[in-house]
Symmetry: C2
């Protein structure tokens, strides 16, 4: 009989164990290759706007980046090591309460009032990256080789700078980057930094890594761990309190 | 016979016309209700960053909005009608070449050098919205009733202002909004505006609407059309040249 499921190729489906009570489930895995395209239904007869006018996405950060780059109307100069950077008091002050106090508050005195600010305890490249973030809300793009070699060190310095100027989002960006650099050789240094600058997420990531007894033992043989135990003894107590298999 | 498709409920599927050559297609309509979640595969053993640190999206426009709102370090005042607005020369100049020339260029003179700029031929509310755009790259949110009643008129005024200060993206935003207000009563006024301020997309949208002979006839009976024919005779020639069914 032609329609007999047992004798035709169609019959294969009946012998499959997926069929139960005359029904079967179909699983669809959807992979979105390109950007999501959203189509809105429009009222009939209405002019189809996107066909005629296309508004590009906001590029405010590029304008602010240009402001930093061109130094147009700059009214303050920072001296950092051997380098100087021109900037705009109003932009700095609205982005950081620390800059605000330094440039507009009662802390303003001497050279600051004259438009020159000396920055101590910071490398010029770190201050340069911090300024870039203040104006554009992003970090300057490093080339690939530089990225491999220096991103972890730069992120540590920038985290300290972000904490100093109370730039919350920059601090989180640095924490997020440093999470990716946690390994046996770096975890103690990164944990010290996290503890000293109150980075809860980064500290948790370090603890998660040290949950493994093998990782902990290996990390304890590094110089960074000596430094951690001396500068943050309370963290050592916390580490000891973690139950391990 | 139990397995006979003709006699069992399973047999319904065979009688369905969708089956061809032992196969059938299944159409899945996927509706994405929430935001798209993208999961990246990570190397085994690596710390799962998002679990510990979450970086919020950029909020640069909010900081700049605060700068406008708080007037911190403002160094220029605009007098528009009976109202005054404090602002920052550097922000205005980097956003608009016209502001740049007015505030930093050779056009700077008299009151401008002293920090006061008079704006003629513009309503205070329009200048206020323009300033909001300059600082935040977006338009101020109108409440719903206001939106219904005034958005089209405001968009026309803002388009003129955007053209005057060469704010390209603001001009496109206004064009895009006005496309949605094109109807028999408004098309002539909007087309006049589009022609006078070189808005190619908006002009095309008006022409598309007037492609219909019924729309054209109805629009020709409006006051706006009289004005269009007098102020932009070349557009009338273009309209006549469009082949219509």
């Amino acid at each position: 009989m032609d329609g007999d499921p047992q004798s035709s190729s169609r019959g294969k489906i009946w012998r499959n164990r997926s069929i139960k009570d005359d029904s079967f489930a179909i699983r669809c895995d959807i992979v979105v290759i390109n950007e999501l395209r959203v189509e809105e239904e429009e009222a009939p007869g209405q002019v189809d706007t996107p066909e005629f006018v296309s508004v590009p996405p906001s590029d405010l950060h590029q304008y602010l980046g240009n402001l930093l780059h061109t130094e147009k109307g700059a009214d303050v100069v920072f001296e950092v090591g051997a380098e100087t950077f021109a900037a705009h008091r109003c932009v700095l002050a609205i982005r950081s309460p620390v800059f605000s106090a330094e440039l507009f508050g009662t802390m303003k005195e001497g050279d600051t009032a004259a438009g020159v600010v000396h920055i101590d305890d910071m490398e010029a490249q770190v201050f340069k990256a911090l300024l870039h973030f203040v104006y554009t809300d992003s970090l300057p793009k490093a080339d690939k080789e530089e990225k491999q070699a220096e991103e972890d060190v730069m992120s540590q310095h920038l985290l300290v700078a972000a904490d100093r100027y109370n730039l919350v989002r920059l601090k989180l960006i640095c924490e997020e980057k440093l999470c990716r650099y946690i390994d046996v050789g770096t975890v103690a240094t990164i944990l010290t930094l996290a503890e000293q600058h109150h980075c809860h997420g980064l500290k948790k990531a370090c603890f998660s890594f040290l949950d493994s007894l093998a990782n902990l033992k290996a990390a304890m043989n590094t110089e960074g761990f000596d430094h951690l135990s001396k500068s943050c003894p309370s963290v050592m107590m916390e580490l000891l309190a973690v139950p391990r298999a």
